[in-house]
Symmetry: C2
Subunit: 195 residues, 2 copies
DNA sequence: GATTGTATTGAACGCGCGTTCAGATAATCT
DNA sequence: AGATTATCTGAACGCGCGTTCAATACAATC
């Protein structure tokens, strides 16, 4: 036996990444075996090595792709006029984007420790890159006298932690719509850094 | 060979829990073997089973003890006069307590998924218990017209996520003292829920 | 319809896993 | 001093791990 009818690498590759993302997020990187991922896709474990050199690289590729997409999506987001509108845009964007990729967000916060030093540094750099975009907004607002955060670096980390926390409790079809969640968090963030 | 001079269960038990806490936090529950824990303590793997029925229970006991201590410590904290002082007390307490137990906090947020349903529910209940204590403060302040959070339940989760985030970046001997960190976060929280 | 190249299988590799338990040793008790 | 009890060792159990690779089946091309 070998390849089944209609199988192609353009299909199997993404399916492997999708299965790995789902299983890693659900059970943790170390708790998921290559055989489980293969079973989810419907191939034998050996076939995975046509698409990744090893298990850690599979994880790294998922994290790297997520961070790249996060930054790219923010770059394509329409920029508001002035720091206040830009901050509102960031708050709503971050919540919206993260709620659409709960597995990848979970992975990014949980499994960095399973990367070797080089891979770890690469993801960390992307994270700092993203954070800097928020901090720039805060500093601009501070300079314009619109904000009065006691420390823009800490405020950046505090806001991101607060917004990312939405993923831990939000459930589709719950008490609040995504729109309303955005409204609530924007209200709190706006006041927290207000002059 | 068997027991070495001066070995006692009152010493080995805590040492096992300490080693497990450190290693689980560092590498993740699934990535740490019973043999590694035993090696850290200086005994053979079999000896661990004098102190825990299995690996998952060892994790559960660590998480349970942490949550119990968190709630007990908050109960013993001097209560401020009125919602505003109580909220300030909570903010400063949460940061201080969590910074003193980084490993346990990390575990509590990362490894819940490695518990069976019953153990998971027990820890979740304790977490909700702790959260309720903050929400009560917010609701009291809201009733007194001191606060104007758009949604006390969400504000509770947002504040806790923001405060717990301190553990991800704070380093001893860094730019900011613990006191200053408390000041900064209290400023942001106070304004975020202000009327 | 034969040839070529790609995608996949299935078996195997050495290794470490969680857990059990009979036996050995040190501390304690009578 | 001798018996008892608490503590720990060391070997073993079956099992699944990540990874490799020759063999193989299919698709595409000629």
């Amino acid at each position: 036996m070998a390849r089944k009818t209609g199988s192609h690498s353009e299909i199997t590759g993404p399916r492997i990444r999708g299965a790995a993302l789902k299983l890693f997020a659900r059970h943790g990187f170390a708790a998921v075996s290559m055989r489980q991922i293969a079973a989810e896709v419907g191939v034998q474990a050996g076939a995975l090595y046509l698409y990744t050199p090893d298990k850690e690289t599979l994880l790294f590729d998922l994290l790297k792709a997520h961070m790249d997409e996060l930054i790219a999506a923010w770059e394509e987001e329409p920029k508001g006029d002035g720091p206040l509108a830009r901050l509102e845009g960031f708050v709503r964007f971050h919540i919206r984007f993260n709620l659409e990729r709960t597995d990848a967000v979970f992975l990014s916060y949980m499994e960095l420790r399973n990367l070797g030093p080089g891979n770890f540094a690469a993801i960390e750099a992307l994270r700092r890159d993203y954070e800097t975009r928020l901090e720039t907004i805060l500093r601009d607002g501070q300079a314009a006298g619109l904000f009065a955060a006691p420390d823009t670096k800490i405020a950046t980390l505090a806001i991101i932690a607060m917004l990312t926390g939405v993923n831990t409790w939000y459930r589709e079809g719950g008490r609040l719509s995504r729109q309303k969640v955005g409204d609530i968090y924007w209200d709190m963030v706006r006041k927290a850094v207000a002059a």
